[in-house]
C-alpha cells in the first residue's frame, strides 16, 4: 500500500437547509475540489455516504446525481450505507482504493436532509438500523438503545444513576461550549447541567439535551496519492491508519457498555498507524448521545472501562484537557446529518492538523482521530490522520 493524503476539504453549515441533498453535497464537494487546486475532471471516483435519501426526498442512487451536478457524470459513483457511520465507511474505502494504486484521486463524503421528515418519521426511519425482525417490533429507538446502555453502565460500575446523569450532562455542556466556537455548528449556545437535567425525557434516562439533533448538511474530502498531494497543497494531511468493526444486532452484543465493534476498529487503526491512544492529540468521536461519548472514550483506550464518566466530569476531555474530544461541538452541538457526519468529523480533524480552527484550535495537534458509529453499535469505523 502507498501513502495517501487528504488534499482538500469542504463542508456546509449544519442545521436546517432549504437546499437538496445533491445541492448541499455539491457545495461541500466544490469547496474541497477548489481547495485541492484541481478541477472536477481530475476526480476518478466518488464514494458517497447517504442513509435515508429514499425517505427524505424519494431519491435512490444519489451518487451518480451528485457526480453529474459537479460535471463528472461518467465516473464510477457509489453510495455507501452504514447507518450513521456511512460517510466514514465511504472515506475508508476511498482511502483504500487510492492506497492500493487503483485510483490516484477520489472524492468522498456524505450528505443528508433529515429535518424534512419530522420527529415521528425520522424516529421510525432511524430505528430501521435495529434488527427489523427480532427487535424493531418492540418499538426500540436509537435513544432507547443508548438509554439501555446508560442503565447498564450505572449498574455495572456501581455509579448511582443520578450521579451518572450529572456526568453525562457535563458531556453535553462541554460539547455545546465547543460548538459556540464553530461557525458551522447547528447550536452555538452554552448550556448548563441544570438545563440538561430539566429537559423532557426522550428514553429513560436520556433527556432532550443528552441527545444530538436531527440535521441537514454535507461534507466532502479529496484523497490523493502522496506523490500527487505534494504538488497540490502545502498542507497535505496523511492517513496513518484506519479500522472498521461490526457487532451484529444488539441482542448478540450482550454487555454493550464495551462496544466490541469499536474495540476491533480502533485497535486495527492504532496497529496500522503504529501508535497507541496516548499518541492522539485531538479526537472527533460519535457523541450521538452523552453516554455514547463516555462509552467511546473508553473503548478507544483514552480511559479505563468504568472511568469515562468521571474523566468527563474532571474536564479531561475539554479543549485544554488530557485528550480534547469533539472540539467541533460534536454531533451534539455541531449537528448530525447522519450520512455526512463522518466526513464532517474528518473535515474538523484535517482543519485541526492544519491549525486552521481559530478559537477552538487544539494547539500543536499533530495526530488526530475520527470515530463514527452506525446502528445499534453494529458498525464502528475509525480513521487516524497525521500532519
Amino acid at each position: 500500500m502507498r501513502e495517501v493524503a487528504v488534499v482538500g476539504v469542504g463542508m456546509t453549515n449544519f442545521g436546517i437547509s432549504e437546499k437538496t441533498q445533491i445541492e448541499m453535497f455539491s457545495e461541500a464537494a466544490m469547496e474541497a475540489i477548489t481547495e485541492s487546486n484541481i478541477e472536477p475532471r481530475d476526480i476518478q471516483a466518488l464514494f458517497l455516504g447517504n442513509v435515508l435519501g429514499d425517505f427524505e426526498e424519494g431519491q435512490m442512487n444519489m451518487a451518480p446525481m451528485c457526480a453529474a451536478d459537479i460535471g463528472i457524470p461518467n465516473i464510477p459513483a457509489t453510495r455507501f450505507e452504514g447507518a450513521c457511520a456511512s460517510a466514514t465507511v465511504a472515506l475508508r474505502d476511498a482511502y483504500m482504493w487510492v492506497a492500493s494504486g487503483f485510483y490516484d484521486m477520489v472524492l468522498a463524503g456524505g450528505t443528508e436532509k433529515a429535518m424534512v421528515m419530522g420527529t415521528p418519521m425520522a424516529t421510525r426511519t432511524f430505528a430501521m438500523g435495529s434488527d427489523s425482525r427480532y427487535e424493531s417490533f418492540a418499538g426500540i429507538t436509537f435513544p432507547g438503545a443508548f438509554g439501555m446502555a446508560a442503565h447498564l453502565y450505572s449498574k455495572k460500575y456501581g455509579i448511582p444513576l443520578e450521579k451518572l446523569k450529572e456526568q453525562m450532562a457535563m458531556v453535553s455542556v462541554k460539547n455545546h461550549k465547543n460548538g459556540v466556537l464553530n461557525p458551522k455548528a447547528q447550536f452555538r449556545k452554552e448550556i448548563t447541567v441544570e438545563k440538561v437535567l430539566s429537559g423532557i425525557v426522550i428514553a429513560d434516562p436520556l433527556q432532550l439535551l443528552d441527545c444530538c439533533p436531527f440535521s441537514d448538511g454535507a461534507a466532502a474530502l479529496v484523497f490523493a496519492s502522496a506523490d500527487k498531494a505534494k504538488d497540490l497543497t502545502k498542507k497535505p494531511i496523511y492517513i496513518a491508519g484506519t479500522g472498521q468493526g461490526s457487532a451484529g444486532p444488539l441482542h448478540n452484543q450482550k454487555d454493550f457498555t464495551i462496544v466490541k465493534s469499536r474495540v476491533i476498529s480502533s485497535q486495527q487503526a492504532y496497529k496500522q498507524a503504529g501508535i497507541g491512544p496516548e499518541d492522539i492529540d485531538v479526537c472527533e468521536l460519535h457523541d450521538c448521545f452523552t453516554i455514547a461519548e463516555i462509552l467511546a472514550i473508553e473503548a478507544m483506550g483514552f480511559f479505563e472501562y468504568g472511568k469515562g464518566s468521571q474523566a468527563s466530569e474532571d474536564g479531561e476531555t475539554a479543549l485544554d484537557g488530557k485528550i480534547p474530544i469533539n472540539p467541533s461541538g460534536g454531533l451534539k452541538a455541531k449537528g448530525h446529518p447522519i450520512g455526512a457526519t463522518g466526513a464532517a468529523q474528518a473535515y474538523e480533524i484535517v482543519k485541526q492538523l492544519r491549525e486552521e480552527c481559530g478559537e477552538r484550535q487544539v494547539k500543536g495537534a499533530k495526530i488526530g482521530m475520527t470515530d463514527t458509529l452506525g446502528g445499534d453499535l453494529a458498525t464502528v469505523c475509525n480513521i487516524i490522520f497525521r500532519r
Partner: protein, 134 residues
C-alpha cells in the same frame, strides 16, 4: 443447507405459545433469536428446541418519544435467558413511570404480543413480552 428456523416459523410458533430457539449439537450453546449457524461455534448442526422464557432483566429503557406507529410510554428491556442468550422485548404489566434501576436483576417469564406492521415492516410482527415473576 436450508434455513432451519426462519422468522416466519419462529413468529408462528410464538403466536401459538411456543418460544423457539436453536441448540447446537456440537458445542451445546443456544442461539436465540435464531441464526443460520450457532452463535458460538458457527456449526449448522443445530436442533429447534423450546426455550424456557425464564431469565433476568439486564437493562431497560422507557420509550417516551416513539417511532411513527407506536404509542408511548412503554418499556423496552434486554433479558438474559437462563439458556444464556440476551433477547430484546417489552416489559409488560408494569406502569412505565414506575420503571427504575431496581428492575435490573429481576426475574421474568416470557410471553409475546402481536404488533401491527406499517408499510415498511413486511406485515405484522411479534415482540417478546416479559412479565415480572412474583
Amino acid at each position: 443447507m436450508e434455513y432451519k428456523l426462519t422468522y416466519e416459523k419462529y413468529k408462528e410458533a410464538l403466536i401459538g405459545g411456543k418460544f423457539l430457539g436453536l441448540k447446537c449439537n456440537k458445542c451445546g450453546a443456544y442461539t436465540v433469536p435464531p441464526k443460520k449457524v450457532c452463535l458460538e461455534c458457527t456449526s449448522e448442526d443445530m436442533d429447534i428446541v423450546e426455550i424456557s422464557g425464564k431469565g433476568e432483566i439486564r437493562t431497560f429503557t422507557v420509550i417516551r418519544v416513539p417511532p411513527e406507529g407506536f404509542e408511548g410510554p412503554y418499556i423496552v428491556g434486554m433479558v438474559e435467558l437462563d439458556e444464556g442468550p440476551w433477547v430484546m422485548g417489552n416489559i409488560v404489566d408494569l406502569d412505565p413511570d414506575k420503571a427504575g434501576m431496581d428492575l435490573i436483576g429481576k426475574k421474568v417469564t416470557t410471553g409475546h404480543k402481536v404488533v401491527k406492521g406499517d408499510k415498511f415492516s413486511a406485515g405484522d410482527g411479534v415482540a417478546l413480552a416479559f412479565s415480572l415473576q412474583d
